[in-house]
């Protein structure tokens, strides 16, 4: 039982990291209908920026988090402006191939610049004790991860539902042409979406680094794919869907590793993906949309 609750807590922690990355996927997909394959690599870049600001510039955890988020936001907008914007009217397949290209470019560009070696996050950035609740030890890091991601998700909900840019984002994702006719600056709105999504990925990167301590240039691939699975699971394009999808996926993974299938952990996400695509392609919270000709 104790083991079970501990695994559940681990699952929720990793799940909230997936959820943070999934939010970026889902927002971008909701607006430009593009799977931003490079999103997992923005997450990786965020982890490295956080690492360098902690080790070289000796910032604390929260300043590093903010720096990483800001830098990733700029990075995301650059990617969008340089690679995706010229392709907005191209075929979907062309956009998808470009996204794969951008992703590989970031990964191998990073390896080219700094080499492929691992870095490990310093262990003592956040002096947190482990808690003991009902006889179950829960690490302080897990609580911190959960708190930070919940705060960021609430902030995102606030931005999307209460601010002007959020309203513009919702309008553009609903109908881009109509939004343009209503005088919304579609290009800026799309850039803002990329900025917010990438900032969340950057935050996820720093948290991931702190939790798992090991970071490397190809670390973004698997969490990125799993976060995409989470986004599809919850219903792509739907923000609460990405959060629930991420958390559920994290918990499923933790439970699979707890029952002795830790070698199969990475396969579980993809099995979940194929099952959800077969039985409920619109995702948990999605609605089936009829295709019009």
């Amino acid at each position: 039982m104790e083991q079970f609750i501990q695994q559940l807590v681990n699952g929720i922690s990793i799940g909230s990291i997936y959820a943070l990355i999934a939010l970026g996927y889902t927002m971008v997909y909701g607006i430009v209908k593009l799977i931003n394959f490079a999103h997992g690599d923005v997450f990786m870049v965020g982890a490295f920026i956080g690492f360098y600001s902690i080790t070289i510039f000796h910032f604390g955890f929260f300043p590093a988090l903010l720096i990483s988020m800001a830098a990733c936001a700029v990075f995301g907008v650059l990617i969008e402006r340089i690679a995706y914007k010229p392709l907005r009217n191209a075929t979907r397949i062309a956009a998808l191939i470009t996204a794969i290209g951008v992703s590989l470019f970031i990964e191998y560009g990073t390896i080219y610049i700094r080499g492929a070696q691992l870095e490990s996050y310093p262990d003592n950035i956040v002096p947190l004790k482990n808690f003991e609740i009902f006889g179950v030890t829960i690490s302080g890091k897990s609580i911190l991860i959960l708190a930070v991601s919940l705060f960021l998700m609430m902030l995102l909900q606030f931005i999307v539902h209460k601010t002007k840019i959020g309203k513009a984002m919702r309008a553009v994702s609903h109908d881009m042409d109509a939004a343009r006719l209503m005088g919304i600056n579609v290009n800026n709105t799309i850039s803002a979406t990329f900025a917010i999504g990438s900032a969340l990925a950057g935050a996820a990167g720093v948290i991931f680094g702190m939790y798992y301590t090991k970071i490397e240039p190809l670390m973004g691939i698997i969490p990125g794919l799993k976060a995409f699975v989470a986004a599809v699971f919850g219903g792509i394009g739907i923000i609460p869907g990405a959060m629930t999808g991420g958390l559920i996926l994290g918990v499923i993974e933790a439970l699979v590793s707890a029952t002795g299938g830790s070698l199969w952990r990475d396969a579980v996400a993809f099995v979940v993906l194929i099952l959800i695509l077969i039985f409920r392609p619109a995702g948990l919270l999605g609605k089936n949309v009829r295709e019009k000709v």
Partner: protein, 324 residues
């Protein structure tokens, strides 16, 4: 008359290929070609089969599959089991590799091909990863440390497989079934409305593509002495994808030319793997920005030489309506 002309062109090409392969075999036997060139030649052959098989799925049928390395892995492992564990001859292994991959294609194709565009891409990517993880966890075939395979791939086998692959895929593309596949690429809803059983043809193209990827897997396994699951990951799928994309989506000769050119380039860049990947990814981005239809578009080399329209992969319309 026309038929005679076509047949003449076909047999002419076959004769040329036979002469080429005999000369190459003599050069290999005589030691004029050292092992570096021989290895490059073998890689080119395997990559041509892979590019042609993916060309059928992406270029002709328009189904964006990025888990092709999964089929390669299935073929490689199935054939290795046939020769190494069961001790059966190599030709059986080639066919078994293809058949195993085709069955995998059927199993994965029926559920996922109902999906479109992006979802299909992700599902096939997931399939590739699942295959890799399954092979990692089976001790019978060596798990993570892989499986050693004797070198059985010879030049005649390789060239025969390449020729058969190309002939089958070109003829398929030009058949009624191939036309149906092209119509699915151009507009799936319209094809459906015209009474084409789109799911059937998508699965069919998928199975044929998977079969030849499995054949390539058999040749690959018996060429490189060792097969390990991590070699069949997403990056391998990407290596195959880039051949098709750069050659031109819908152009068989484009895929073949890209396979030859890129294999030679990557052999020279093999001591700088990250530079190679940076260049590849930049080429991919620039290509999509400035020439999204690939080098050859959907044209074939024969249409430049005006030798006839023997291998035309249909015309791409550059509008937004393409299904994938």
């Amino acid at each position: 008359m026309n038929l005679l002309k076509k047949a003449k062109g076909f047999w002419g090409t076959i004769v040329l290929v036979v002469i080429f392969s005999v000369v190459t075999q003599l050069l290999i036997n005589g030691g004029t070609l050292n092992s570096f060139y021989v290895n490059t030649l073998f890689s080119i052959g395997i990559n041509i089969i892979l590019a042609a098989s993916l060309h059928l799925i992406i270029g002709v049928t328009g189904q964006f599959s990025i888990g092709h390395a999964g089929f390669l892995a299935v073929g490689a492992y199935a054939s290795a089991i046939i020769t190494m564990k069961l001790g059966l001859p190599f030709p059986v292994a080639i066919i078994a590799g293809g058949a195993a991959a085709a069955i995998a294609g059927l199993i994965i194709g029926i559920p996922t091909l109902r999906l479109r565009g992006d979802y299909l891409a992700i599902a096939t990517l997931g399939f590739g990863e699942i295959v890799k993880i399954v092979f990692l966890n089976i001790d019978y075939i060596g798990g993570a440390s892989g499986m050693t395979v004797t070198h059985l791939t010879t030049w005649p086998w390789l060239i025969a497989c390449v020729v058969i692959t190309i002939v089958v895929i070109v003829n398929f593309t030009n058949s009624t079934h191939g036309r149906a596949c092209i119509s699915i690429r151009e507009n799936e809803i319209a094809a459906d409305a015209m009474g084409i059983n789109t799911t059937f043809y998508k699965v069919m193209a998928f199975i044929i593509g998977a079969f030849f990827a499995g054949v390539a897997g058999a040749l690959h396994a018996h060429n490189f002495y060792i097969i390990q699951p991590p070699n069949f990951g997403f990056l391998k799928s990407f290596d195959i994808l880039i051949l098709v994309v750069i050659g031109g989506l819908g152009s068989m000769s484009g895929a073949v030319i890209a396979a030859i050119a890129l294999t030679i380039i990557s052999t020279f860049l093999s001591s700088y793997p990250e530079v190679r990947m940076v260049i590849y990814s930049l080429v991919l981005i620039v290509m999509m920005l400035f020439r999204p239809q690939g080098l050859m578009g959907s044209k074939e080399i024969t249409s430049f030489l005006k030798l006839g329209k023997a291998a035309k992969g249909g015309v791409h319309h550059d509008g937004k309506n393409t299904v994938a």
